[in-house]
Structures are given as structure tokens and as C-alpha cells.
């Protein structure tokens, strides 16, 4: 694969990483820690929202992030023809 192509592939990968890690940070450190008090004024069922993110929600978001990344990268690998045969 040409050098130029490799650079584009890597750049795209880094873009995905930045976006997904931002979500990772916001769901755990954001909703679960920094803004918990503000979110706690919202209630869903018996859960205060900030507390729910800290003890439940962030973990669900983590799982979703990984599977989205897997799907994005599988597609990207094919697009740039660097997937494994």
C-alpha cells in the first residue's frame, strides 16, 4: 500500500479514536463524576440520573463504544484494503 494511503488510513483511525474517547470521557467522567450533582436533579424511575450514569449507564456506554469501533474499523480496513485475508 502506498505511503499516502497509509497516512490517510491512520488519520481516519485517529479521528474515530478522538470522537469515541470523547464519548467515553463524557459518559463516565462527565455524567458520572463532574456533572453528577446537576444530573441528580433529574429522576428516571427510582434512579437519580447522575448516580445511574456512575453505577450503571457508563458501563453500558463503554460496551457500545467498543462494538461501534469494531464495526467502523472493519469497514475502514476493507476500504483501504488492509484487512486480513
Amino acid at each position: 500500500m502506498s505511503n499516502h494511503n497509509l497516512q490517510n488510513y491512520w488519520k481516519k483511525n485517529l479521528q474515530y479514536l478522538v470522537i469515541l474517547l470523547a464519548v467515553w470521557f463524557l459518559s463516565s467522567y462527565g455524567a458520572g463524576i463532574l456533572f453528577t450533582d446537576a444530573l441528580n436533579s433529574i429522576k428516571i424511575g427510582g434512579f437519580k440520573l447522575g448516580f445511574w450514569f456512575a453505577q450503571q449507564g457508563s458501563i453500558y456506554v463503554f460496551i457500545i463504544i467498543i462494538f461501534i469501533y469494531v464495526a467502523l474499523m472493519n469497514k475502514l480496513d476493507k476500504e483501504f484494503d488492509v484487512d486480513e485475508k
Binding site: Y29, I33, F51, S58, I63, F67, M73, E84
Partner: protein, 570 residues
């Protein structure tokens, strides 16, 4: 049938299963011993990783800990799951493409230096040994409680079992045993949780019952009721917590990054056939872990509600049988300070009459909820599965570090495959015996150090691996300086603020709290030490020559999946 008979049957059956698998999947080559031949399916690897990861601490202690900490318990929940995102996105695929057997392998090759390799081996050994000693102790505790043998005897039984399948099967035996252990432990965790959730809230899914309405006719939400109970007794509201925000932030971060830096976790991603399998297998691992980790906070809240309702301001003589039973193990202690014959369980230290050990919450839960005897036996088998699977994974890292990173790569590169395998087995056997010794004679600091192992991994490995992948400019000088500064800083802070070594020992530790840097506890300091590692490594690397062209090509190469082949030998 009584609990003891059930325990013998269920634990005996599960052990027969593990040993059967070990014989069926014994390793014939070093490659099978180190990375299971690189042929494990991502789903099986995810399950094995989950069992490897969830230790006796996750299974036995975590829910109890959360139930006393309330909101603050989130540091463990987020900290011990969020690291898998970092693994899947930043580490696993690239390390799999690199295609060697161990973390020191990567550090040694990427930083073209045996010094870097040696520093990495030492870090790996420190982290793994402290961790494994705690596991053997956990095995001993579970055996002694449920089989009514001494803790020492329990540790010895556990040693023999682990010895058998870790030495015989290597990574291949361990991986397939761990798949079975995951099934046992998750079943054992969920059954009582579901029973209790139905009893308290009428909802069979603990994650929902957690936010549900109580069954007692009051129409109150469980968490609101619990907030009220806590506050009436002088504790902080359950959903609020007491730690400072900066400390919660730092601990969570240190645990996440530490998870992603632990050698026994990373090595699992060398066992799958392809790079894309490494990514998805981290996803499966987290999914399997999350089943337990989202149930644990629910169990914690149920257990606390149950406990306060059962004991608070009740006559001591009216206590149920489980209370008396755990009293004899000294894990529950009652002292009638005001002599009124009732149990006062309150925040105020002088008025409080009851101390409850964190560890009994999960183990006693089925008894507290009046569940059938086979469920209690199942929990014992689950606790053993959790402790044994983690111990086996750690022992493998130790034996690999010795046979491959030290003997093969440094002392005797010409060692034959057959002898290398023999050394690996011998190292595993010695490691089991050493771990067993610490299990029987635990140094007082084991429990404290296990928590800090994450800080050590965060401060040493994580930055070196990340920069090895994402920066072509990072060189040997920078990485070695960073690792040494990071781990030294972490060890210094630990000695000063956790053990009080410079201020007169453990008794001084409480008074030192005001001196914490940035208000961060030793558990969270890994975050600061990791940042120091990054900073030092970057500065030093820009003052020294860039790495050789061949190394820059390695970095280019690991960034694309094609051509990974199987995990290969040199």
C-alpha cells in the same frame, strides 16, 4: 441435604470439570503454552478474559464494598470496566499485530534495548506476585468457610488444583478452563441476585429492581428508602458519597489505565487469530464482565437495605441464625456499649455497636435472603472459580516472564523449544508454591498492595506502550526514563501515604491525609505518576536521537492489520 453436602457435590463437580479440560487441552509447544497457539476464538477469549479479570475481589468483596461506600463505589465500577475501552481502541489490535508473546517482548523490541525489557520484566513480576498472593488467600477463605477446613488446608488444595492445570496446560489449558469458570461464576452470582431482587422489588432483573419500587407496600423507591435509612443513622445519603470529586476522578482514572496496563490482561489479546479478533474480543470481554459489574451495585443496595432493616435497633437475642453464624467467624462483631440489649448501627464511632466485614455481603446474601442450600453451595463454587481463574492467569504471566523474557531472550538465547517449555513449567510450579506461601502467611500489606498494583501498572506500562504505538519519535531513552520516574514516584507516594514509612509507620497514615498532593489518595495517585511518566518521556526523547529506521518501520507496520499471521516465534 445440608449446605456442606451440597458444597462438596457442586465444588467437586466443578473441579472435575476443570481438571478434565486441562487434560484434554494440555500444551505441546511453547506457542501453545504462551498464547494457546494463537487460535482461540474471540468469543471464547472474551469469556476467558472475563474470568481471568474478575478475581475473588470482584466476586466476593466488591458488592460489599459498594454497599458501604454508596455512590463512591462507582470508582470501582467505572474504573474496572472503562479500561477495556482503552484496551480495545488503543492497545489490543496493535499488540496483536506486533505478534509476540509478552508485554516485556513488546517493550524490549520497540525500544530496542534489553534494559527496557528488564525494567518491564521487573514491573510485571511485582504487579503479578502481589496480585496472586491475594487470590490464594481468597481461595483459602472460601474453602475454610464452606468446607470447614483450616485456611491453610484450603490454600494447599487450591495450590494443587492450579498447579495441575497451569503447569500442564499453559495458556491453552488455562483459557479453556477459564471459559468453564466464567460460566460457573456468573451463574453463581446471578442466581441469588435475581432471587433477592424479586423478594425486595418484585422485578427479576436486578439492574431494574435497583431503581424499582419496594415490595413492602410503602410505594417508595428502593434508593429513596435507602437514602433515608442511611441519613437517619448519620451516614451520607447512599446516592451521594463522601469522597472529594478530584479524588473520585483520580482513582477512577488510575484503575482504568491500570486495567489497560496489566500484563495478565494484555497477554490475552495475543491468543486470538487476527487483529480484528483482538478488537472484538475486548468487546466480548467487557460484555461478560458487565453482567456482573452492573449487578454488583444492585446487590450492594439490596444487601444494605436488608441489613439495616434486619439489625438496626433490634433486640440482639432476636437476631436470625446467619447473624450468629458469621459472628463466630468474627466477620460480624457486636458490642453492647449502652447495655440496652439492642443493636445500634450508626455513623458515630462512639455510639456504634456493630462492625460488619465487607466480605460477607455476597457470601451471606443467600442466607440473609433465606435461599435454598444449593444456592449457598453454588456461591462457594463461584467464589472459588473467580479466585482460581485469576490466580492461574497471573501464574502464567510469571512463568512466561521467567522462561521467555529472562532465560530465552537474555541469558540463553539458544535454549531448545523443549527445554524452554520445561523452564516455563518449572517457573509456574515455583510461582504456585511462592504464591501459596503468601496465601498461608499473608504479609499484612497484601490487601493494600493489590489495590495499588493498578497504580503501578498505570505509572509504568501504560505510557510506554501507548507512546510505542502512537509516536514514532519515542525512543529508548525517553521510555526508560519515563517508566523509572513513573514507578518510583508511585512507590514513593505509596510508602509515604499508605504505609507511613517516613513518618513512623501505619499509625501515622490517618494524620497524613491533609498532606496528600492535590488532595489525591494513594489509590488515585497512579494518575499523577502516569502523567509524570508521559511528561518525562516526551522531554527526554526530544533531547536524545530518534529511534533507528528499523524501529520506525515496526511502528508503521503494527498500525495496519494486514499480514498479522498467527502469533509467531522469532
Amino acid at each position: 441435604m445440608d449446605v456442606k453436602t451440597w458444597t462438596y457435590i457442586i465444588v467437586g463437580l466443578s473441579f472435575a470439570l476443570y481438571i478434565g479440560i486441562a487434560i484434554w487441552s494440555r500444551a505441546g509447544s511453547t506457542k501453545e503454552f504462551y498464547v494457546a497457539g494463537g487460535g482461540v476464538s474471540p468469543l471464547a477469549n472474551g469469556m476467558a478474559t472475563a474470568a481471568d479479570w474478575m478475581s475473588a475481589a470482584s466476586f466476593i468483596s466488591m458488592a460489599g464494598l459498594i454497599s458501604f461506600m454508596g455512590y463512591d463505589g462507582a470508582v470501582y465500577l467505572m474504573g474496572w470496566t472503562g479500561g477495556y475501552v482503552l484496551l480495545a481502541l488503543l492497545l489490543a489490535p496493535y499488540l496483536r499485530k506486533f505478534g509476540k508473546y509478552t508485554v516485556p517482548d513488546f517493550i524490549g523490541d520497540r525500544y530496542y534495548s534489553n534494559t527496557a525489557r528488564t525494567v518491564a520484566v521487573i514491573c510485571a513480576l511485582i504487579v503479578s506476585f502481589t496480585y496472586v498472593a491475594g487470590q490464594m488467600r481468597g481461595v483459602g477463605v472460601v474453602f475454610s468457610r464452606f468446607l470447614e477446613v483450616s485456611i491453610e488446608m484450603g490454600v494447599v488444595i487450591g495450590m494443587i488444583i492450579v498447579l495441575f492445570y497451569a503447569v500442564l496446560g499453559g495458556m491453552k489449558g488455562i483459557t479453556y478452563t477459564q471459559v468453564a469458570q466464567y460460566c460457573v461464576l456468573i451463574f453463581a452470582y446471578m442466581v441469588p441476585a435475581i432471587f433477592i431482587s424479586i423478594a425486595l422489588t418484585g422485578n427479576a432483573i436486578p439492574q431494574l429492581g435497583f431503581g424499582g419500587v419496594l415490595n413492602d407496600g410503602s410505594g417508595m423507591y428502593l434508593l429513596d428508602k435507602l437514602d433515608g435509612l442511611n441519613q437517619d443513622l448519620g451516614f451520607a445519603a447512599y446516592t451521594d458519597g463522601t469522597k472529594s470529586m478530584v479524588d473520585v476522578f483520580a482513582i477512577t482514572f488510575a484503575l482504568m489505565v491500570g486495567t489497560a496496563g496489566l500484563p495478565h490482561v494484555i497477554v490475552r489479546f495475543f491468543t486470538v487469530p487476527k487483529v480484528k479478533d483482538a478488537r472484538v474480543s475486548a468487546g466480548y470481554a467487557l460484555l461478560f464482565i458487565a453482567i456482573l459489574y452492573t449487578t454488583a451495585p444492585a446487590v450492594a443496595a439490596f444487601a444494605r437495605t436488608n441489613m439495616i432493616n434486619t439489625v438496626s435497633n433490634k433486640e440482639y437475642t432476636q437476631m436470625p441464625e446467619w447473624f450468629k453464624k458469621w459472628e463466630t467467624t468474627k466477620l460480624i462483631k457486636f458490642e453492647d456499649k449502652n447495655g440496652d440489649g439492642k443493636i445500634q448501627y450508626v455513623k458515630d464511632k462512639d455510639a456504634n455497636e456493630l462492625t460488619v466485614d465487607n466480605d460477607i455481603m455476597v457470601l451471606a446474601n443467600p442466607e440473609i435472603a433465606n435461599l435454598p442450600n444449593w444456592v449457598i453451595a453454588l456461591v462457594a463454587a463461584g467464589g472459588l472459580a473467580a479466585a482460581l481463574s485469576t490466580a492461574a492467569g497471573l501464574l502464567l504471566v510469571i512463568s512466561t516472564s521467567v522462561s521467555r523474557d529472562l532465560i530465552k531472550m537474555q541469558w540463553n538465547p539458544n535454549v531448545s523449544e523443549k527445554n524452554e517449555l520445561l523452564y516455563a513449567r518449572l517457573a509456574a510450579a515455583v510461582a504456585v508454591i511462592v504464591a501459596g506461601y503468601f496465601g498461608i502467611n499473608p504479609p499484612g500489606f497484601v490487601a493494600a498492595v493489590v489495590a495499588l498494583a493498578f497504580g503501578l501498572a498505570a505509572a509504568s506500562f501504560f505510557p510506554a506502550i501507548i507512546m510505542g504505538i502512537f509516536s514514532k519519535r519515542m525512543n529508548m531513552q525517553g521510555a526508560v526514563a519515563g517508566m523509572i520516574v513513573g514507578i518510583s514516584l508511585m512507590i514513593f507516594y505509596m510508602l509515604k501515604f499508605k504505609f507511613g514509612i517516613f513518618d513512623g509507620g501505619k499509625d501515622a497514615v490517618d494524620a497524613l491525609k491533609d498532606g496528600w498532593w492535590f488532595g489525591i489518595s494513594p489509590e488515585g495517585f497512579g494518575t499523577v505518576a502516569m502523567l509524570a511518566n508521559f511528561a518525562v518521556a516526551l522531554v527526554v526523547s526530544y533531547m536524545t536521537p530518534p529511534p533507528p529506521q528499523s524501529v520506525q518501520e515496526i511502528v508503521e507496520n503494527i498500525r495496519i492489520p494486514r499480514g498479522s499471521g498467527e502469533a509467531h516465534a522469532h
